[in-house]
Assembly symmetry: C2
Homo-oligomer: 136 residues x 2
């Protein structure tokens, strides 16, 4: 059994994050030592790694909670998992599209000013004051 500091090093996330996950019910309340310190076993390590992996894929804490729940009922159909992943992929792709469009607008705006001008002549500021650039 290890204390929270060791667990934090093993899985590579901060002590506060672990306590946060406990409060958010992503991991069960840990056993406590006589002195009220949290105690963890190998199962806790695995679960935290699972969560960490999900987070690296930008899954939200509620989504992860749902996955963990599904994981606990192995006989259930996994359609829910698939639906969640599909929705998540859609969101990521939508965000990429948004940012790509944004990037074009920013580059266009940036081209409207070279250095060494005064603010008064600055094409960027002038353009920002005008009507928003069209999306084309």
């Amino acid at each position: 059994m290890m204390k929270i500091g060791e667990l934090s090093k093993v899985v590579g996330c901060s002590v506060q994050t672990i306590r946060h996950y406990e409060k958010e019910q992503l991991i069960a309340s840990a056993e406590r030592s006589e002195g009220n310190f949290r105690l963890y076993d190998e199962a806790a390590v695995e679960q935290l790694l699972f969560i960490k992996h999900c987070r690296s894929l930008d899954l939200s804490l509620p989504e992860i909670r749902q996955l963990l729940a599904l994981n606990r009922s192995p006989g259930a159909q996994c359609d829910d998992v698939n639906r969640m992943m599909d929705r998540h992929i859609e969101q990521v792709e939508a965000r990429i599209q948004e940012l790509t469009k944004l990037n074009k607008q920013l580059r266009m705006l940036r081209r409207s000013c070279s250095n060494r001008r005064t603010v008064e002549q600055c094409g960027i500021l002038r353009n920002l004051s005008a009507t928003p650039v069209s999306s084309g």
Copy 2:
């Protein structure tokens, strides 16, 4: 002179947002009527549109505050504006790269499970329990 509700309709942002911008010092404290209502003129409309345009480009409120300050000193060099834009563009492009990588991983993961399996057989959950997918 118009009240905050009218301004909100004219520029297309919520009343709370306008009050929020005032608190954050993006716009000056508005004049008040006898009954303590905020009163705005055309200049306020223009400034809010400027802010709205910047926000549509995902500039942060501190960045916008800085641009507004520069706008007020028209003789200054606009290098700062250019630097800010460059940094911002870099950030957006970095985020696009991150999300693109993420998207690949998610799609790979999604392919590991088709519908109608049980959770126990679900490739997604199995993969999430394993070591994080490599970036390649």
